[in-house]
Symmetry: D2
Subunit: 454 residues, 4 copies
């Protein structure tokens, strides 16, 4: 375990609670209780046993530290847990004790409990995602006309709108969320197979008990589907979950990188509410971006671990399965941390259209050199056009005049540019291309995907 | 570059050809030619220019080594390529030269060409996948009744059927292929945005030219969809491709691990046709499994690289994008190598039902201890049942008799087991649980998913 | 945070305590106190201030949960910690409060505290390493003459001794420990640089204060060296620590893989004391190997995260640094878990020389085919020798006789083998090559490296 | 294989040649020839056989494509290679053919050839490293007095010197090189063990032959040490090589990130000679930084793959070993590419001290707020000092005056600052702290480490 201090930036309050001992223990006990209930309903064990087991399955009565310690001997938490639960059931109803954990294997309990935790975490994430997505769309609409520098390889390029940039963030985020939400629902399933995954201990009622577990309307498992068969060593669904989470986190990281770059003192185009410095009174740090990037940075490595762990032996694995639990827990928390931080960043984002425009002007029109070249090429040919534009650029850099002025004052080049375009050579609005159309296409694509998903 | 020798095991003949210089160069040139053709069709450049460009765009006329060398200066292959293409076009039609690469950016060309390569690779993979999947289903059906040891943590567990094991492989493989195929089709798209991704150089015809590129019926791009907007720094679709490929490769790796373990001399339950040893005449090595595992081992690291690379700056990135090309190429080849090797392994797999049964018998019934305990628990209680079964196990290990005999010769235990079950205590067929039902559910789930996908 | 249950298998009792909130908080406070003490000693702040700060720096008086929560706003634990410490100092001595955290930056405190934690963890690891290494050497010596199958690609190969195998484990372990120990001592250093790493707030006494911090004889920092200069964005030493840890963990994983394979029921050559199963009374699981493999599986991904995080901006980074803390903490705990588990596995390892010999015999001499071929090649040539040996092998497999008998009964082949070798063709002791020499060389190399390190 | 185009940015001309088929094939053949030569010298095989083998071992006579194709069947290049070599030897001297590859295993040949390739690559890297290190030291010395903004979390911080920044790069680079060079020499070793690693086929001359291989003065192996014993599944040295390479690459990546950020149009403090754009005439791209970052980005994933591959079975592994070859080759090439690009970047780096100073001035003294606070705290206390400084900062931002002027015009604050410091409140040279001392300590530490290594 790494305590709350070490992990502070890579989780959230709510997700920390989901993976804390109390909640995890209750999830494990809930699975044992639900199993007993369903087995009783299908005549596999007596109803009285199920009642006693449900009564004993209260996390507060167990010692999580001791269970963790004992788990190190058997390499599974289920063995000490079942022993402890059996003892408590015995105190309630000695006859019931024999039916605790009936016919199932350790992994059945841990995997199903993990599905419960994934389900809880997913709903937490969804809340923040919805808020962030809405805010990005709002920013995109509000800044459909806000021109700013495009930047490629960290150098100025022809203008875009901040609305287009925000729409790009938004569309990536929604695409990635759709992948993550699909993987979440696909992976949070009942696991029930018994020792070798054949449900041999269930007599001929195995499959029906499994399916019934997912419809256990009284308990926390009610929403979990079963699978066609036990998936003790078929871990592709969880690998898909972690991978999709890493993609979603990467998309958040891209937004954080962009914001932190735009927030540089020398750029100053946007600003998150941010945090202070422990020593420098003047600092306004991109703290939310830092947290997003820090949490997102964990995800590729976690995904690699999960992917490498797909190679599991036979019916149940030695090592690879046992490695998964912390990986899944850390992945969901890291996604949550990156998401929460970015939600807060965007909610408090200040956009400075004046500075954006000033930064365009500071290039003195150099970013329009491409436009001049394209305008002049049909007349001059590409080579000659490039040569004259380079020359105009050099003169403009040296003299401090704008590129547009340098062009207009050069007879051959000015003559090659269509007369109608000469006055707008350094007007960013005249060289936005399809920015607004593309912005609207991005929003429409999100709407279309959402409609299809319904 | 690592040559064919170093990369021998992590590619296939066909995939190697797709990513070899000749094919990559032609893909890049095809994109330039298609671009010109579509631009001409929409009046952006003259038709004669498009014709000259198409005529010049023949890979055999270019020097790939020189282009690679020059790419190191500009950090993009497109700059030397466009220069070389322009020179060749100029020799054909001087006027046309000015319209080469009109209004687009390096990444437009490389990304779209990569889409073409992904498309080609995907079709190659599909062929092998279909063959492997069919063979696994055949194996599952043929061995629906072949009993074998289940094995958990590499130790014997209650019996399963080889048909169920093969069905598990099959279902994982098909689920993972569905993810991969979806990601493949989703990622292989037209990229066209120009300098800042606004299509500014296309006047007001940008979006229509982009969409038309994907419908360029004369060329190799005809199947590629466009996207709502340029995706120069929105790389989630490619990250999804590489991740899905890593999952698919991991599923193949699990099969290879299982086969190589079952093929151990001491186990001897299956055998791949395999390869020999350079020094040991007696060896029959799991060479195909080794190749599958070797190729699959590359994938988690490649996925991590791709995922970490999602954090790209602004409108086009410095470094992260440039890192992607070899990652995508190596991923597709590694998947292909793992898949081809496993297709061959399974095609030539020898299954030995006698040995499977002998290995069950060699446990002298120990694997049925769980069954005995479950049968005796309702009468004896779990603790007493476990104690007596442990005792019977110990006697059976010491004496060499089977567990069933040890149980039958122990009055209290024998009395607690239902009489009808006493004779079949060590019959694996009597303790297969829902193995056949689960097998059929796995096959049906694949059929259902395929039907839904149609 | 993931609680003790989720992380049970990937830490140890002792390491969990080192990274738990109480210890981490005390380490952070110890650094603030030591800083004040040293600053006072060098006249940077008043001695009374240092005394008050030391008095207030008691972890039990702080609320770790609240600090973690507040850290999410500023993206650093130091800001809320300094605020809380200042408040407590103020209550003791209002004048002293102004000198809390004097002239340093958040990262100075967190990095130095991390050095303290690394130091503590390193000593914990060393204890288990020493015990495991001693046990491996003991096993190697005890089994210098115990013959067993060599196994390559999971197939039988010419014999080795278990002593040689254990010596190989031992030598790898000691080499890897030397790397890890070096990286640990190299990375656990004082960090002290102030806002930009120039110690500007220390006047002209910066470097001497930094060096003095490492000689703070009253406190827990007394063993930590300083560095030539602050290393806020020079993280190579920590990357080296995590990488070396991943290698050490991989070496442990190799041992666990070997033991779990040798412990298979069908092989049965060694056995760890192991753990039971929650459902199968007969099972003796390689639980220690499972734990080792599970913990080791985390390390490559953690290393990749740390390595990717080396790319840090300017004087202090946005995101990459903030990602490191949990990575380092999890790495040290995972190493510790893998190591503790393997120490226990080896301490309780049962070796079965009879079974080893029986497994050799079960190959009926096939593993000596190489030997026969080499013996016969000088007379017959390689091709003919291989052909005849293959033939003898086939006859031996078919008839159930040993390869040696098949050779001796074949005139041409028997004639080609030197007469002196004919009787020992299937004696494993006659084909051990330099096994014992190599074993002793491995032990000697460890001794030599240890002597050199002294 | 991925061709030269796809891999253009992640290799260099020289390293590409080392891992191209011709060189790899020759290395493999050189090992077979050296083996024969040494075996002949020790009486293991006839001298005439060694001569014939050496004569036949000419790469140009072999078909690398065919060998690669056949390697896919046996999962090792050595089997088809030995067959092809044997055929060629047979044509020269039929008796000699039987001694080709005498008593060794595939992995012996491939591992030793890889050591040769590592050795060649290491020397290539060393050349560029030496040049880059020298240039960094030169830059550091030349700019010992060039003040610039420190930047933390991408925001302005108190000043540093460019000389200190360059010294930090330099010291990290040299530390990382020392690790890499050590790992290179430690990993490039003779591998010779035969089938099970016991040298059984060498009679009693095994160890002496192995040691002699490393002293084979006529051949390319002359510099390679042997190891205490074969290391077929003890891969820690190669994992250390790849990890050290990843750290070195990460250090280069940090430099590239810094340069590309400083080269932003809005910052403009340094400029690499860089490359152009395929469409924008005005662009001066950080192309070298892009190449460095792209190549460095591969390394964490490659390291993770190598680290995960440490878990190898028994005496020779199934899959994990076979995965290593391309990983090692790609790692060395990626390091080389990142290094070559950064060497060129730094060789052509333009530094603009005026712009650096202007960027400091543009903060209007805000970065000195920490200094003012520290100066005023002894009089005012931390809380009051911080409050007044924040207030002065706000007034200065609003009015456009500098912070120094705002302080000087505020009676309480001005009174609290020592009179001697009032005039220099915004002089960056007055707040450099120990920058020059630290710079010199960094250079001295490199010198000391180099002296110790000699």
């Amino acid at each position: 375990m790494t305590g709350r201090l070490v992990d502070a930036l890579v989780t959230t309050e709510a997700l920390d609670a989901i993976f804390a001992d109390a909640a995890v223990l209750q999830a494990l006990l809930d699975v044992e209780a639900a199993l007993a209930r369903v087995q009783a309903a299908h005549g596999v064990i007596p109803a009285s046993a199920a009642a006693a087991i449900a009564k004993a399955a209260v996390a507060a009565d167990f010692d999580a530290d001791a269970l963790a310690r004992e788990a190190r001997t058997s390499a599974t938490i289920a063995i000490p847990l079942v022993a402890a639960l059996t003892a408590r059931v015995e105190a309630i109803d000695p006859d019931a004790a024999r039916y605790v954990h009936w016919g199932v294997t350790s992994q059945d309990i841990v995997d199903t409990a993990t599905s419960v935790l994934i389900e809880c975490a997913g709903h937490q994430l969804q809340r923040d995602h919805t808020a962030l997505a809405a805010r990005l769309r709002e920013l995109s609409d509000a800044h459909a006309d806000t021109v700013m520098l495009g930047r490629t390889l960290l150098q100025p390029a022809p203008p875009i709108t901040f609305g287009l940039k925000a729409a790009g963030w938004y569309a990536s985020l929604c695409r990635s969320w759709a992948r993550l939400a699909h993987a979440w629902h696909d992976s949070a399933r009942i696991q029930l197979g018994g020792a070798s995954g054949t449900l041999a201990a269930f007599g001929d009622r195995g499959p029906e008990v499994v399916d019934a577990m997912g419809n256990d309307l009284d308990g926390p498992l009610m929403l979990l589907p079963s699978a066609a068969a036990p998936w003790h060593t078929a871990r592709d669904r969880h690998a898909a979950l972690v991978s999709a989470g890493a993609i979603y986190g990467g998309v958040l990281g891209k937004m954080a990188r962009d914001v932190s770059l735009l927030m540089q003192f020398e750029v100053g185009e946007v600003r998150e509410a941010g945090g202070g410095s422990s020593t420098m009174p003047h600092k306004q740090n991109p703290s939310g971006c830092a947290r997003t990037l820090a949490a997102a940075a964990r995800l590729p490595g976690l995904a690699a671990t999960m992917l490498a762990g797909l190679v599991q032996e036979h019916e149940r694995a030695v090592g690879a399965w046992q490695a998964e639990w912390p990986v899944i827990a850390e992945t969901l928390q890291a996604i949550g941390a990156a998401l929460e931080a970015m939600r807060i960043v965007m909610a408090g984002l200040t956009v400075d259209p004046q500075r954006m425009r000033a930064n365009i002007d500071a290039t003195r029109g150099a970013i329009f050199a491409e436009r001049v070249m394209l305008l002049a090429t049909p007349t001059l040919g590409r080579a000659r056009a490039r040569e004259l534009v380079q020359d105009a650029l050099a003169r403009s850099q040296a003299s401090g005049q704008t590129l547009a002025d340098a062009v207009r004052s050069h007879a051959e080049l000015a003559g090659a540019v269509p007369a109608a375009d000469l006055p707008t050579l350094d007007d960013p609005r005249a060289y936005l291309g399809a920015a607004e159309t593309l912005r609207q296409r991005l929003l429409a694509a999100v709407d279309a995907a959402a409609a299809e998903a319904r």
